[in-house]
Amino acid sequence: MHGQPRKPLKQEDESLLSAKAAKLRTLQSQFFANHRDRIYTQEALDLSAKLLETNPECYTAWNYRKLAVQHNLSRSDPDYVAFLFHQELKLVENALRKNYKSYGAWYHRKWVLSKGHSSIDDELRLLNGFQKADSRNFHAWNYRRFVTSLMKRSDEDELIYTEEVIGENFSNYSAWHNRSVLLSNLFKSKAEEFPLEEKVLQEYEHVRSAIFTDPDDQSGWFYHLWLIDLTVKNYAPLLVSSWPSHGSNITLNGNNCIYGCGLSLLNSTLSDTRTLPVILYFNQAVEGINLSTVAVKSELLKEDLVWKPLSTNNSSTAQVWGAYLNLGNMELEQSKTYSIKITIGHSMGIVSSNGYQYGDPYQIAFKLCVQTASTKPVEEQGGKLTSWKDNNFQKIDHFEDSDSIVSADLHIPTTSDWCMKAIEEEITTFRDLLSEEKCKIGKLSLARLLTALDLITHQHDKRKNHTEEVLKLYTDLMELDPTHSLYYKDEHSLVLLKQITSSRESLLPYCCYYKDATEANTSYVCLRLQNLSLSRMGSFENLLWVQMLDLSHNDLRSIEGLEAMQLLSSLNLSHNKFGSFTVLGPLRSLKSLKVLDISYNKIGSHSIDTRRYLCSSPLANTEVFAWDRFEILCGSFSATKFWEAFLIFESLNLTDLNATGNAVADENFTSFIVKVLPTLKWLNSEELA
C-alpha cells in the first residue's frame, strides 16, 4: 500500500468496502471455477475481464486469458482472430488505467503483440499517453524499448524523443538513462555517423544545462560522470605495473633470500619454497592470462608457469594475476646473472570483461643473481616477536640506486587532444558554477574532473598536479554533505595514497628500516602509512614491492585489493575499524604472510557483516566448507560460530598473530585459533608454549 493516508475508516466507508470485498470474492471464486474446468466461453472471458479490471494484479487471471486465446485460436476465422486479440489489448488498456504499474498487464500486452496478429501502429500513441501521465514509469519505458524494437524504429528517432522529453522537463532521470542506452548502441553500431568525440562534447553541453539549472536535482549527475568516463577511460586492457618491474635486478643471497628492489627483508616463505612471485597488474579486470598469451623466456624456467587470478571471488577475470617461478632444486651459480623475459600479449586472448582485446605485446625483462652465501644462516622469521613500536624504526635518508621502489607506470597510450580540451572546458565551467553557488555536485564534479585531468596529463608531462585542490574539495564536501561524509573520506584517502605512492621521492618519508633492537645485523624496509586517517586502501599497483606494511591507527574498514601484495610478510592493521574476519579475506592469497597484527579493531562487535559476500565462502558458492579439516583441527567448536575465522586463518602460515582488543577475542577464540594455526609461535605478544 503506497501513499495512502493512515486514518480510521468512517462507518459508511467500511460497509461500502466490505460489500466491495464480498463482490470481488464472488467474482474470484467464479473465475477459479472456470479456470479449473477450462471454460473459455465469451461469458467466462467477460467474467475474468471484470475481475482483472477490478484487480489487475490477479496474475492467474492473465494466465487464464492466455490459455483462452490459445484455445480459441483453433477457430480459424480471421475476423474472429482479430477480434480475439483486440479484446485482449482493450482489456490490458483498461487494466492499466486502473493500475499502470501492473507487471501482469504490461506483460500480457507484450505477449499478445508478439503473437503477430495485431497492429503495433497504435502502441506509441497509447504509450505517449501513459508517459505523459507519469514520465518516470519504468514499465512504460521498458515497454517503449520493446515496441520500438518490434517496429524497428531507429535509435536516432528515439534519441530525438528523449531530447523532446528532456526539453519539456530536464528532471527526468529515465530519459537521461535511455539516452545513455541509445548512445552506447549508436557508438557501437554506427561509429562513423556517431563519432564519440563530437557526440560526447555535445552531451557535456546538454547535461550541463540540466545540472546548472538546479544543481540539487540528480537527473543529470550520473550522466555527467558517465561522460567523464567516456572521455578519459582506456577501454582496452593495459598493464599498469608488475613485480618484478622492467629493468630491475633481484638478488638472492646464498640462502635464497630475496634482496634488491628495495627489499632487504627476507621473505622466508619464498626462500623456503624457492619460488619467485611474478605479479601483473592491469588497469581493469581481464581474462585469458595463460601460457600462450604470456610468454616467459629464461634458462631458469624448468616448468610452465601457472597463472592465477588474484581475486577474492572465484571468477576467471581479475585485475591482478600472479604466478610463481619455481627455482626448485636448481643449483644457482654464485655471482651469475640470470635474465628473465616476460612478454605480455604474446598472442591474442587477453580480454577485458566488456570484450576489449589487449593491444601490442609488452616486454618485462629483469635479472636475478645469487650473492655469496651470508656468513651465518638467517634466523627463521617468527623466532622473534615483531614489535611495531616507533623506536624499532629508523628513517631512511635516501634509497640505494639499485632499489626500484616503485613499479613505474608502463606504456600508457597518449590521450587525444579533444579529451584534454573537453575536461579542461568542463573544469572552467564548473569553477564558474562554484563561484556563484557552493553546491555539492559542483565540488564533487570538479574534484572528479581534476583527478581525470591529472590522470591524462600525467602521460604527457608531469605538470603541476591538482592533488592539493582535490583533497581540499573532498574535505569541504565532508562538511557540506555530512550524510555522505564517509564517501568523501574514502575518496580523500584514495587521492592521498595516490600522491604518497606516486614516486620514489614521495614514498621516501614513509619508508623506514625495521630494526630489531637485539639484532643489529638485520634491517628491513617497512612502509609506514600509519596515523594518516585513511579510511580506505588503494594504489596497490605502486606497492607490489612491499614486504612489511604498517597501516595501524587509521580508519580502515576493509583491505580490498591487498591480495595483489604477494610479497607481504608482515602486516600491521591494529587500531582500525575492521568489523569482521571476512574483512581479512584478501590475506588468504598472501602466501608469504607471517606476522599479522589485528589488535584493537571491532571484530565481533557487529551483528551485520558487510564483507560476508565479498569473501569467498560456501554462502557465495565459491568453495566447499572443509568439514574434514575443520573436524580434525577443531571438531569441538561450532562451525556456525567460527566458520569465518576458520576460512581466513586455515590457509595462512602465521607465526605471529595479535588479536587483542577485539570483542571476538575471548578465551574460546584463543584456544580455537591455536588449533587452526599450528605454525603460530606468538599470540597476542605472548610466546606460545
Partner: protein, 320 residues
C-alpha cells in the same frame, strides 16, 4: 527519538492474518505466499516466531505446490517463481525444507532458465532479473545451484548493467533499487560481486538517502520504507553501507511506525501494511538496531537460519 514498538508490530502482524475478509486482503489474496514470508520473517527478526502454528503454515504451503513443482501465491493460483521463493524461504525459517518434494521443485526452477541465461517467471515467458535472483537464491538454499548454467545466468545479469552502475529488469532497463538488490544478491550468491563497479553503484545507492533520512528507489523519487531493505542490503553486500547515515535512516523508519496500532507504513502517517512492516523491521535489523535478530542481506533470511543451512553438517545431509 521514538523507539521500536516491537510488541505492537508483533500483534499487528498476527492480526493481519485474521482479517481475511477485508477488501485489502481479498485484493491481495493472490500473493498470500509473499505475505506469509514478510509476516513470518518479521516475526522471527522480532524473536516471536514461536507464536505461530508451524504445522498449519507448512501444510498450507504444501497445498500451494503444483505438479510442476512450482508454488502458487495461494491455493487455486497458478505456480510462479515469485511465490516459489517465498515458500522455500518460509520452510527454511521453520527448518522444514525436507517436507516438500525438492527434486520436483528443482526441476521446476531449472526448466525456467532460457538459452541466454535469463529466467522466466513461469511458463508464460516473462523475463526479468528478479527471476534470476529468485532462481539462484532458491537453488542455493536447496544446495542445487549446480543444476543450472550459472555462468550464463551471471552473464545475463551483467548484460543488464547500466551507465550508473545499477541494473534493470532486462538489458536497457532503467536502474531501480529493487532490481539492484536482485542483481547484487544473485551475484553475491554466485560469488561474482567482483563484476560490479562497487564505487559507482555505491555512489548511486548512497545518493538514494534524502533529507528526511529515508531512502528512495530511483533519483528524484520520494523515500519509502521498503527501500530500507533494497538499498541497504545492496550497500551492505558491496561493503559501502558506511556511505549513508545510519542514524537518520533509523529515525525515518521509526517515524513510519503506527505506535498506537502497530505496523509500519511507506512514509510517516501513511496507512501501514505487512509488506512495509517487514521491510522496516528488516531494515532496522541491517542497521544493527538493538534487540533484533540479524538478517542476511543476500538470502533475506535471518543469519542464524542461513548459517544453519550452510555451516551445519547435518542440515546439508538432510537436503542432499
Amino acid at each position: 527519538m521514538e523507539e521500536l514498538a516491537a510488541e505492537k508490530h508483533v500483534r499487528y502482524i498476527l492480526s493481519v492474518e485474521k482479517k481475511k475478509d477485508s477488501f485489502e486482503s481479498v485484493v491481495m489474496e493472490h500473493l498470500r505466499m509473499n505475505g506469509a514470508y514478510w509476516g513470518l520473517t518479521a516475526l522471527d527478526i522480532l524473536g516471536k516466531l514461536d507464536t505461530v502454528d508451524v504445522d498449519e503454515v507448512v501444510s498450507w504451503i504444501i497445498s500451494c505446490q503444483h505438479d510442476s513443482g512450482g508454488f502458487g501465491g495461494n491455493v487455486e493460483h497458478d505456480p510462479h517463481i515469485l511465490y516459489t521463493l517465498s515458500a522455500v524461504q518460509v520452510l527454511a525459517l521453520f527448518n522444514k525444507l525436507d517436507v516438500i518434494d525438492v527434486d520436483k521443485l528443482t526441476s521446476y526452477i531449472v526448466s525456467l532458465q532460457n538459452e541466454d541465461g535469463s529466467f522466466s517467471g513461469d511458463i508464460w515467458g516473462e523475463v526479468d532479473t528478479r527471476f534470476s535472483y529468485i532462481a539462484i537464491c532458491c537453488l542455493s538454499i536447496l544446495r542445487r545451484l549446480d543444476r543450472i548454467n550459472v555462468e550464463k545466468a551471471v552473464k545475463y545479469i551483467i548484460s543488464c548493467k547500466n551507465m550508473d552502475g545499477g541494473f534493470g529488469c532486462t538489458p536497457g532497463g532503467e536502474s531501480h533499487a529493487g532490481q539492484i538488490f536482485c542483481c547484487v544478491g544473485a551475484l553475491a550468491i554466485t560469488g561474482s560481486l567482483d563484476l560490479i563497479d562497487k564505487d559507482l553503484l555505491g555512489w548511486w545507492l548512497c545518493e538514494r538517502q534524502v533529507k528526511s533520512g529515508g531512502l528512495n528507489g530511483r533519483p528524484e523519487k520520494k523515500p519509502d520504507v521498503c527501500y530500507s531493505w533494497w538499498v541497504l542490503s545492496s550497500l551492505i553486500m558491496i561493503d559501502r553501507v558506511h556511505w549513508i547515515s545510519k542514524e537518520k535512516l533509523i529515525k525515518f523508519i521509526l517515524d513510519c511506525q503506527d505506535v498506537e496500532n502497530g505496523g509500519i507504513s511507506d512514509r510517516p502517517d501513511d496507512a501501514v501494511d505487512v509488506f512495509h512492516t517487514y521491510f522496516g523491521v528488516a531494515g532496522l535489523s541491517l542497521l544493527e538496531y538493538p534487540g533484533l535478530k540479524p538478517i542476511d542481506p543476500a538470502y533475506a533470511l535471518p543469519v542464524d537460519v542461513v548459517n544453519q543451512i550452510f555451516f551445519s553438517k547435518t542440515s546439508t545431509n538432510v537436503i542432499k
